[in-house]
């Protein structure tokens, strides 16, 4: 294989990992409530801004930034659930908890909160990209044979792997994980066996949002593009990856995110670059039409 193609594959995997990083938290939250959290892109954006502010103020070691941003993300998730999701779960009966109306209401309320947060961030920081302090960027090149990777690629890969492992541990080895799985499987059933659903939902939001904030931090520092609208495009791609992967399937979403990244990176070889943005949407439509349950989905579910 020639070096250009190899480099293209490397670039694609690195781009796909960025999408995957967002998709993990997104899918986790979707799994529990079966509701789309449109404010995830704002959590992602705020995570990046929080990291930037922390770096500018204290310049702590990178691991410290990671933990602080994760904490900020968890806090944001807690607040988001309180503001945009919980008030709409007023009724406790089965019909309204499962109703489409509730899902659409939370979709809209998270969308509204997202708009609010983004606009307020623009008022506070301005709409333009923030300069990253010299040395904080994660893009020092590292040559691996003919291919050039960067420190950020390894960091992001490590972060994604750590998130997946942590999730595996949380979901299958802890009590809260058991509850999350129970809720994701059957909300009403979980309610009947006495699980404190509100508490589990809050936990899920906190975990999912801290993952989202970390994704924003990593991708923001990798590309050096931190601005209020930074969340929209990548979160949409992550969302598409989640749908392609089969909604509740986190490994499936990660694989599809890599697929999207690879296609976007290699496509300029065979088509004009300006059409590359279409790829993810076409993927989505093809998936929805031919694999309504997602490529890796288990069962056809009516959501």
């Amino acid at each position: 294989m020639d070096a250009v193609l190899l480099q293209g594959i490397a670039n694609g995997l690195s781009l796909g990992l960025c999408y995957a990083l967002i998709a993990i938290g997104f899918t986790l939250i979707f799994g529990v409530l079966n509701a789309v959290n449109f404010a995830h892109s704002e959590v992602y954006m705020l995570g990046a801004f929080a990291g930037l502010v922390i770096i500018q103020a204290f310049a702590p070691p990178f691991m410290a930034v990671v933990f602080l941003v994760a904490a900020v993300g968890a806090f944001l998730g807690f607040g988001l659930e309180r503001i945009a999701f919980r008030p709409l779960r007023r009724a406790r009966d089965e019909a309204s908890l499962k109703s489409r109306a509730l899902r659409e209401a939370t979709l809209m309320s998270s969308l509204a909160v997202g708009i609010l947060v983004r606009e307020l961030a623009e008022l506070r920081f301005g709409g333009d990209m923030q300069p990253i302090p010299s040395g904080a960027m994660l893009n020092t090149p590292i040559a691996v044979g003919p291919v050039i990777l960067t420190t950020g690629d390894f960091y992001i890969f490590g972060m994604a792997a750590a998130m997946l492992l942590l999730l595996q541990f949380l979901l299958y080895r802890t009590k809260i994980g058991l509850s999350i799985r129970a809720l994701s499987d059957d909300l009403i059933g979980a309610l009947y066996v006495g699980i404190n659903t509100d508490r589990v939902i809050v936990w899920t939001f906190m975990i999912g949002s801290s993952f989202g904030a970390l994704a924003g931090l990593m991708v923001g520092l990798y590309y050096g593009t931190i601005f209020p609208y930074m969340g929209f495009a990548p979160t949409l791609k992550a969302f598409i990856a989640m749908l392609m992967g089969g909604l509740n399937n986190i490994p499936g979403a990660v694989l599809c995110a890599l697929l999207i990244g690879l296609s976007e990176s290699l496509a300029p070889e065979i088509m004009p670059t300006r059409w590359v943005d279409l790829i993810a949407y076409v993927f989505l439509l093809v998936t929805l039409i031919f694999f309504p349950a997602g490529i890796f989905g288990r069962k056809a579910e009516r959501v």
Binding site: Q7, N11, P141, E269
Partner: protein, 380 residues
Amino acid sequence: MLLGKNTLAAVGLVLAASWAGGAAAQDKTYTIGCSLPLSGRLVGFGEPIKRGIDMAIEHYNERKTIAGARFELACNDSKGDAKETVSIGQKLADNAAVLAVISDFSSTTTMAAAETYAKAGLIQITPSASHPELTKMNKWMFRASETVPVYVEPMADFAVKDLGKKKVAVIQVQTDWGVSVGNTFIAHLKKIGGELTTHEIYNEGTTDFRGILNKLRRSPPDAIYIAMLEEEAANFMKQRKQLGMTGIAVVDSGVGLTQRSLKLADDAFEGMYSMSIFNPTRQTPEVQAFVKEFQSKYDKIPDVWSAYGYDAASLVMNAIGKAGPSPTRAAVRDALAATGRYSGANGPMSIDPATREVTRDEITKVQVKDGKVVFLPSKK
């Protein structure tokens, strides 16, 4: 006692009113409209332009450059959104006090509002948009900036003749301006015997250019010409450095390199060539006075955008002055069209009375060295 106080206050009020009235009789206040991206992705251009305009107006008001005239700015945030500029245009056109409007930063937004201003018979002068079609649209459209070929063709000459880079790749953003710059460059490149290796167009808002960069390696160019806005140029250059492609020279259109993008790109701009209409070292009294005044007011070296804003506002105020004691919109238009030669913050330029096109005597080539913009000596 209470009554006395009130009476005193009333007398004071009357006095104040008569004083204000007296001042108004001496100085007439004229309003200049303005529509610029003061928020959103293009704020990095809108803000410096506004600073230039503010400074020009303050300068004219303080020194009473135009006798008996005070100027006021009615500025609106267009967010770089074409729809907004149309709404703003309509609003300013309705305001009878507005004699001319400085609008807008980009070619797309400027063109969007053209019809609105023409219908109202109101000058629309763009401080910075450079699309060649602009002033052909209607007779109310003016510019303080030159057209695309004025600064694109010399850069093609520069790349091929001065730098000796015959094989050039062109990467452009998909906007009115980008299309115009890209096509002009390619046409001129072919005319002077250069070779186009790759021509790539990307959609506005792209952040990952690694696909394009990687593709360039299929037919390696000697130089890359980029028609990008500042943030995109910064990302592009960072990724070029990251992929170890610093061996290929980059020639910028002049829009990618700003003080902000220089900060955004950290050290990735090193060695990049660009051009500047504005040259703070240019030895004309107007340029030197502008630099000095700007530095004392904002405590930094001005850039081309502030100079554009300054020139646009000055041109308009001069025209209002020439249009007589009670200027109408039409009179101001004719006065502005008759400006002819003008020497401002961006150096000398002339406005063609019929086509309203702007020509410049020279443009300055620049290069980024050690994180600073160095003005290359002009070869004559």
